[in-house]
């Protein structure tokens, strides 16, 4: 029924199955929208946050999705700036995942503020000393970059691409994509970093506070590093999930292994830096404020030392070891374990740097603060997941996300597709002969 919209040379499931998938995600999305409306209409009393837990599930979700979406800027950097050509086969998906992650983060932030209609004050009355100001500026700008990176993909829809303007726009945007990739990497460096700085500058919170290099606490660099390291894990995880659901191989093994290898070495170096940071914090920074390491990990029902061991050891050292070892990296099962652990690891790190910061008592006569989210918080946090599923479903069905899909899943093209493909090739030839470059 909608096959005329599919990319040329690919097969998609029946429309009813597609609509069924959309409906299921749509119901979840609707649930989230109910929570969102309640929060906007009735206020943040719909949450289980309180004056000890001013930052909670939403801020964690923000930090986590932005870290996971880091695959977009880092893969873009590798592809367009470092010129690693194999990654062109996964960059589209990395951009789409990044777009979903960043739009989700902005949506969550819009729910999370007490006076949403005043959100623009952060730009208008900007305090340049605040890490959150830097986050707001860089996040908004980078979302613009991701939109620009996503647009040519939309324009490459089989029918849209027949419109000469759309065709040429997409074509030319591809050629200047290196500029946007570089801009994206620059912006990402700062907003990933400033998200780390949000916790690291809190000199009133010894659990979060870190020493500085110039004006940037160590967490600034660790957050950027970890997003670049673990972001590709998320891209690979979602690619694996898409392949499982679609029942097709969409990206060649060598591409996955290459990205996994880069991710592995990034995690390896990151985790060394993280361990060094933790040791310095535990032995120098915290004691200078009157705290021992175990003050942060005892006398409460959840936050034991296990959380540090899981974050650094199980979800840091282990995936790094697997992904830098060629034999283990080549094995799809161990590779999958590593990327899942990596994704959990970075999410856990963000959880600790938001929720545990709020939980640890600072005054000697105060007590640990515990928190669990309300259903409205859970629903609005799952909302972006449903939205992401919907966007992926639609994008996968109608856009040429995976350049290797046709080659990996050959089908007999229909006569109309053959004619279209021939026309497209002729148009490309004509452009080249007119002195215009061909699409990369």
């Amino acid at each position: 029924m909608d096959s005329a919209l599919w990319p040329i040379g690919v097969k998609r499931c029946h429309i009813s199955k597609f609509l069924m998938g959309l409906s299921i995600a749509g119901v979840v999305l609707l649930w989230g929208v109910v929570g969102l409306i309640l929060c906007w209409v009735k206020g943040l009393n719909q949450t289980h946050m309180n004056d000890y837990y001013g930052f909670a599930l939403w801020i964690w979700a923000d930090l986590a999705v932005i870290a996971l979406g880091g695959g977009a800027f880092f893969t873009g950097l590798l592809r367009y700036i470092f010129g690693i050509r194999e990654l062109k086969n996964i960059i589209n998906y990395a951009v789409l995942i990044g777009f979903i992650c960043y739009s989700s983060a902005l949506l969550i932030l819009a729910i999370d503020v007490g006076q949403p209609l005043r959100s623009w004050f952060i730009f208008w009355h900007a305090n340049v000393h605040s890490m959150l100001t830097e986050v707001a500026f860089c996040l908004s700008c980078y979302f613009g970059v991701l939109t620009i990176e996503y647009i040519p993909l939309i324009l490459e829809n089989r029918q849209l691409n027949k419109v000469p303007f759309a065709h040429h726009l997409a074509h030319n945007m591809h050629h200047i994509m290196a500029v946007f990739a570089a801009t994206g990497a620059f912006l990402s460096f700062f907003h990933q970093g400033s998200l780390g700085g949000v916790a690291g500058v809190l000199f009133g919170r010894p659990f979060a506070y870190r020493e500085h290099i110039l004006i940037w606490p160590y967490t600034f660099f660790l957050f950027t590093w970890s997003a670049a390291a673990y972001g590709p894990c998320f891209t690979l995880l979602i690619t694996w999930l898409t392949e499982k659901i679609s029942g097709k191989q969409l990206v060649k093994e060598n591409v996955k292994q290459l990205l996994a290898k880069i991710s592995g070495w990034m995690i390896f170096t990151y985790i060394i830096a993280k361990i060094a940071d933790t040791v310095y914090w535990a032995l120098v920074t915290a004691p200078s404020k009157g705290f021992t390491l175990m003050d942060f990990y005892s006398n409460n029902p959840i936050y034991g030392i296990w959380i540090l061991i899981v974050e650094i050891g199980v979800c840091g050292v282990v995936p790094a070891w697997i992904l830098v070892t060629p034999r283990l990296r080549a094995n799809p099962k161990t590779r999958l374990i590593a990327i899942i652990l990596g994704v959990i690891g970075v999410c856990l790190n963000r959880w600790v740097m938001v929720l545990q910061v709020m939980a640890v008592p600072v005054l000697s006569f105060d007590t640990w603060a515990m928190y669990y989210p309300s259903w409205q918080e859970v629903a609005t946090t799952i909302l972006p997941v449903a939205y992401g599923v919907i966007l992926i479903l639609i994008s996968y069905r109608y856009l040429p996300i995976f350049p290797q899909e046709v080659e990996l899943n050959p089908i007999e093209p229909s006569p109309s597709e053959t004619v279209e493909a021939m026309n497209d090739a002729a148009a490309e030839d004509a452009m080249v002969s007119n002195g215009e470059p061909a699409t990369a």
Binding site: F55, I122, V201
Partner: protein, 270 residues
């Protein structure tokens, strides 16, 4: 007429914990003075707005050695390690909280705050409160609100202002009378005046004639650290450089004001 600028003030407070009985009058006076909203159900104290909050401290020893101490905690009006680098002021993305270098008071601009709550996360004293609900005043109570203090709407952060509206009124009066300087008793916070035990004194920490200066003896070479051996500030080691000083003759109370490693002695409750 020659224009003479008045000297920069550093308004601060000294609370004598040996005198505090924990009666809570300061809390009540503060709420009434500053139109602090309350709810029907205030059982969850982490949702209660208490600009001035009285903590109960104990030395943790069993009877008969058990001792308690009540510690009133307003906003500490931190100065930080350089002027205005308070934990909260430095992080507010919309400049909705500010450090007044003329008075040393950390202000909160309710109409500019958009409710991100970063300042709350930054404050180790939990002196900042979020309006989770719109304020609702029972019966005719709206008629008894203080006209000098604006009530706050849902979705913004609020905190102790050292009754800054009183400073404004006092300065207006002084201006009318052709004075540049306020007398010590002209500007006093509601909690100071209400305390039946006289445990709270308030004034200009920069002025050697003011009682707060004489009692706390702030050392200007060490970010205001008190020279009085019985005086201490909460979480001195964090470098928040607060303007609220506490007095206690009891060692365990003074030590409870900060955190210490075992090698430095018990952090609290000796």
């Amino acid at each position: 007429m020659k224009h003479v600028d008045s000297k920069a003030k550093k308004y601060g407070m000294v609370i004598d914990l040996d005198k505090c009985t924990g009666c809570g009058t300061c809390m009540v006076a503060c709420m009434a003075e500053n139109n602090v909203p309350f709810k029907k159900d205030e059982t969850d104290k982490r949702l209660s707005i208490t600009w001035m909050r009285v903590f109960k401290l104990t030395n943790g020893k069993p009877y008969p050695d058990n001792e308690i101490c009540y510690l009133p905690r307003p906003c500490q009006h931190c100065e930080g390690q350089h002027t205005g680098h308070s934990p909260c002021v430095s992080v507010c993305p919309a400049t909705a909280t500010d450090y007044d270098s003329e008075t040393g008071i950390v202000s909160q601009i309710y109409t500019r705050c958009f409710g991100c709550r970063y300042c709350m996360g930054a404050c180790p004293y939990h002196a900042r409160y979020f309006n989770w609900w719109d304020p609702v005043w029972p019966g005719e109570m709206e008629k008894y609100l203080n006209p000098d203090v604006s009530p706050r709407m849902r979705g913004v952060v609020e905190k102790c202002s050292f009754c800054y509206h009183r400073a404004q009124l006092a300065m207006e009066k002084a201006h009318v009378e052709g004075r540049k300087e306020l007398k010590e008793k002209e500007y006093q916070t509601a909690c100071t005046q209400a305390c039946p035990a006289g445990a709270i004194v308030f004034g200009d920490l920069n002025n050697p004639e003011h009682e707060v200066h004489q009692v706390a003896q702030p050392d200007p070479h060490h970010h205001g650290r008190p020279k009085n051996p019985n005086a201490f500030r909460l979480l001195e080691r964090l470098g928040t450089n607060t303007k609220v000083y506490y007095l206690s003759s009891r060692e365990w109370v003074r030590r409870a004001g900060d955190n210490y490693l075992d090698s430095e002695g018990s952090a609290s409750h000796e």
